[in-house]
């Protein structure tokens, strides 16, 4: 009857799941922690980098504007001095020539009308533009910085410039005027164009109102291809500002209301490295998990495969136990122990099976033997011969006795197929046998019974005493039957019953004693002592049986130990 087991997880699956599960959880947790730390570090780096790039630019541009301020000072000094217009012209034109980024020096009225201008090799147009000074506040040094515009003074010359103006009262002009320099962006571009963090980061200059002063992509912005949204930035204080896409750092310059903004993109500085890190972690973790999985499977194999081999062998054993040959299963030490235990189990069971088989055989043999003995021709017709002779010579009483003994002998031998009979009956059986044998051996031996009443109702295996007595007669007395005596006793000894067949025959040495108990008398007539002993053992257990004591030339005693089992107990 097979017991149905509920669907349970196999050992290997459990092992693998456990190992991989724990590993996965650990790794995910530590990766999350790492990634967040890493991202934070990247952001910090980006912000720091942006700030540094701004400070660089601030330094450079500050120097630049300070230099411009100083230049303006010098120009004003020149104008204040006594130099002639011609000398002024030479001097100023040389100044403009020497500086790459100076597009011209000019003097305007406070309303922006051009009074004088100097640039090498150029003469002013008739119609020139007015200087737009609306909404421009002076800076800390009292200078005015315009927004970028196209210089509109000289013919066929239209550079983009920023005009720096200094109001001053000059004797030369008699009234307050604006002394200006027009600065081109070449030098500023040189400072600003390559400053930036990352491949796409950059810096630009804007003024207080958010108007662009210089941007590395100014042409693109003017052509409408790009936009730099400076309005929201204009209202912000100096500082570091992070939004979804970029980090912007704003710093004001000390002069001219200019502010430098550095933009770096989180995408390339944070998001991409982050994604790369995530991807790398993911790949290596997956790889590690796969390896773990494989290792787990391998280990599980080491454990569960042997177990399954074991199970398979058990199954084979179940099907064909007797012929089963066990192949040891190897694996871990526990598996080895299991394997050995199973091997012992198999051998033990096989032994037990053999024993049972043998016991059955013994029992069957006894049946057979008993049957044989029962129809042992020699014994039978010798006895019948004797009976016949007795009848012929008229010894009818003896004949009656013999017939009766014979009948009793056979009846008890059969005992209606029962294996266990009361001792009473066994004694009867023995006595019947003795009666017959005594006559056959012409009263050359005597016998007597010493039987305790109490044991008569206890059971013993049938045909126990008779073979021993037979032995005693045949071997104990042999030819020298004279004065032989057989005493059969039965008494209770403690919890047990002891039967004894004692004779005063020739006796045996120790070797022969042992031989008697071990020799199987198959093939010979009659049931041997071994058979008796075997049956006692079978029916009552190994602690009961036969013991032979013998002394050569003194006699032999055969003790039979039985338990006290009364008839109702069976």
């Amino acid at each position: 009857m097979k017991t149905k087991h509920p669907k349970r997880l196999s050992l290997s699956s459990l092992l693998v799941l456990l190992v991989t599960g724990v590993a996965a959880v650990t790794v995910v947790l530590s990766s999350t922690v790492f990634i967040s730390l890493y991202t934070a570090a990247l952001r910090n780096n980006a912000a720091t980098g942006a700030e540094q790039s701004v400070m660089q630019s601030v330094g450079a541009i500050s120097n630049y504007t300070a230099g411009a301020g100083m230049l303006l000072e010098r120009i004003v000094e020149e104008l204040e001095s006594e130099t002639t217009a011609q000398q002024l012209r030479t001097g100023f034109e040389m100044m403009v020539e020497m500086r790459d980024d100076l597009a011209g020096i000019a003097v305007y009225t406070m309303h922006g009308e051009l009074l004088d201008c100097w640039a090498p090799g150029k003469v002013r147009k008739e119609r020139v533009g007015t200087l737009q000074m609306e909404n421009i506040k002076p800076d800390a040094a009292g200078l005015y910085y315009t927004t970028p515009h196209v210089q509109n003074i000289y013919p066929d010359y239209y550079p983009w410039v920023v005009t720096i103006a200094r109001p001053v009262e000059l004797d030369r002009y008699g009234t307050e005027i604006l002394v200006t320099i027009d600065l081109q962006f070449s030098t500023i571009a040189g400072y600003m164009d390559d400053v930036g963090i990352g491949q796409h980061g950059y810096s630009f200059i804007m003024d207080d109102n958010g108007g662009l002063v210089y941007h590395p992509q100014q042409q693109l912005i003017y052509a409408g291809l790009k936009q730099e949204n400076t309005e929201p930035l204009a209202s912000l204080e100096d500082g570091i500002y992070t939004d979804a896409d970029a980090i912007r750092v704003i710093r004001s310059l000390p002069l001219g209301h200019w502010r430098i903004v550095s933009v770096c993109f989180l995408d390339e500085l944070v998001r991409q490295p982050q994604q790369t890190a995530l991807w790398l972690i993911f790949c290596s973790v997956s790889g590690a998990l796969c390896i773990l999985l494989a290792a787990g499977l391998l280990v599980a194999r080491l454990v569960s495969r042997p177990i399954h081999r074991l199970v398979a062998q058990m199954h084979d054993f179940e099907l064909a136990a007797a012929d089963f040959v066990y192949t040891p299963v190897s694996g871990t030490s526990e598996i080895g122990v299991l394997s050995d235990s199973f091997e012992h189990l198999v051998l033990r069971i096989q032994n037990l099976m053999d024993e049972v088989k043998k016991e059955e055989e013994t029992l069957r043999k006894t049946e057979l033997k008993a049957l044989q003995a029962q129809i042992n021709p020699h014994f039978l017709y010798n006895t019948l011969d004797s009976i016949q002779w007795m009848c012929e010579v008229g010894r009818t009483e003896e004949a009656v006795k013999m017939v009766g003994a014979l009948a009793r002998l056979f009846r008890i031998s059969i005992s209606r197929g029962q294996d266990l009979i009361p001792i009473r009956k066994e004694i009867e059986h023995a006595e019947s046998y003795l009666i017959i044998q005594k006559f056959r051996y012409k009263n050359q031996f005597s016998y007597r019974f010493e039987v305790e009443e109490s044991v008569l109702d206890c059971l013993c295996s049938k045909i126990t005493l008779q073979p021993i007595i037979e032995n005693a007669i045949l071997h104990g007395f042999g030819e020298f039957v004279d004065n032989g005596e057989i005493v059969i006793s039965a008494k209770a000894v403690g919890d047990h019953i002891e039967l004894c067949v004692r004779d005063n025959g020739i006796g045996m040495d120790a070797q022969k004693c042992a031989l008697v108990l071990s020799q199987d008398t198959s093939g010979q007539s009659g049931i041997g002592i071994k058979n008796v002993a075997d049956r006692i053992r079978i029916f009552f257990g190994a602690e009961y049986g036969i013991r032979v004591e013998s002394e050569p030339d003194v006699g032999t005693s055969v003790y039979i130990l039985l338990p006290q089992i009364r008839g109702e107990d069976t």
Partner: protein
């Protein structure tokens, strides 16, 4: 029996488990390989920019724009054009050379609407992307078209010319009749003028785009039709030629002139009166957007649109120095990198 089949099934499961794990591992290794490919620097793509000429301020602006886009998108580009703006044969040769040089895309401005179609379509067959800037060709194989809406530009020129109380007798000085944008501009102009009662087109000539030749032909036109008090002309070089003619004849105050495009000289003439209004295009944007579209196509993506109209402004003497017009009229980068 059941126990036996369980046993077999179990072993099968073990084997497939190992196989599955092996396949997963392989997958991750492959993924890793493709990722490393991504992080490696991509090779620079080649783009051939073939324009009508490389000398005038217009095309120099196109070059500046193309340059800006090329450095932004990491593109290797060549910038070529024939000596004069009528030589479509050289353009076709340049197309062939671009194919041989292994360009991935051609940014093209066509001298002739039809004569370059075959060469371009051959390039398209071989897998090159075709992007048109400024002047179109008659072909379906063009991926993106970037340029001025020339018909509208012609209309703007008409509006600018008509922005006066005088009755106008107009002389039209066109350029190459095979050029698509030339034709379209003339059509746009005529479209507006034909509906005006106070204006009349007196004469129309088409010149080769060389300023000295145009100067001569304009002078001849004015001598032939002294009643002309307004001239419209449709590209940079014809504008210069007309300007020179007006200057030479001293008729700046008498003749109202509307021209196209901006360079230092025509802007100067705008100030001094030979020219009254300029229809200014955005060649920087054309060059930039052209190369940008090429970069997008070469990276396997589709550009946002297959037709882009770049900005056109009518700028007159009165408003040429407004903040917005300054930005449009005067190049920023030219004046830094001198």
């Amino acid at each position: 029996m059941t126990a036996q089949t369980d046993r077999k099934g179990f072993f099968r499961k073990r084997k497939s488990g190992a196989r599955r794990a092996g396949m997963l591992l392989l997958l991750f290794l492959l993924a890793g390989c493709t990722m490393t490919e991504q992080t490696l620097q991509p090779q620079k793509q080649k783009v051939a920019v073939i324009v009508k000429s490389t000398e005038s301020a217009f095309w120099k602006s196109v070059l500046a724009g193309a340059n800006a886009a090329a450095s932004e998108y990491n593109i290797d580009f060549s910038f070529e054009g024939p000596q004069d703006e009528e030589d479509w044969e050289t353009q076709n040769q340049l197309i062939d050379r671009a194919i041989e040089d292994g360009a991935g895309a051609i940014v093209f401005s066509a001298i002739d609407y039809e004569a370059s179609v075959q060469a371009l379509e051959r390039a398209a067959e071989l897998g090159l992307h075709i992007i048109i800037i400024d002047s179109d060709v008659k072909s379906e194989r063009v991926s993106v078209r970037i340029g001025t809406d020339n018909f509208k530009a012609g209309q703007r020129a008409a509006y600018a010319l008509l922005n006066t109380s005088d009755k106008l007798k107009i002389g039209m000085v066109g350029f190459d009749t095979h050029s698509e944008n030339g034709r379209k501009r003339e059509q746009g102009f005529e479209d507006i003028v034909s509906g005006e009662t106070g204006a009349e087109i007196v004469a129309k000539i088409n010149c080769v785009s060389q300023s000295d030749l145009v100067k001569k032909e304009t002078e001849a036109l004015l001598r032939a039709h002294p009643e002309i008090n307004a001239i419209v002309t449709f590209n940079e070089l014809t504008t210069l030629g007309v300007g020179y003619a007006i200057e030479a004849l001293g008729l700046g105050d008498q003749i109202r002139v509307v021209g196209f495009d901006n360079n230092v000289i025509s802007v100067g003439m705008l100030e001094t009166g030979e020219i009254d209004a300029l229809i200014v295009q955005n060649p920087f944007a054309m060059g930039y957007l052209g190369v940008e579209a090429a970069a997008t196509l070469l990276s396997g993506k589709n550009p946002p649109s297959d037709k882009v109209d770049t900005e056109v402004r009518a700028i007159s003497r009165e408003d040429m120095y407004t903040e917005q017009n300054q930005k449009f009229l005067f190049s920023f980068t030219e004046n830094i990198r001198s």
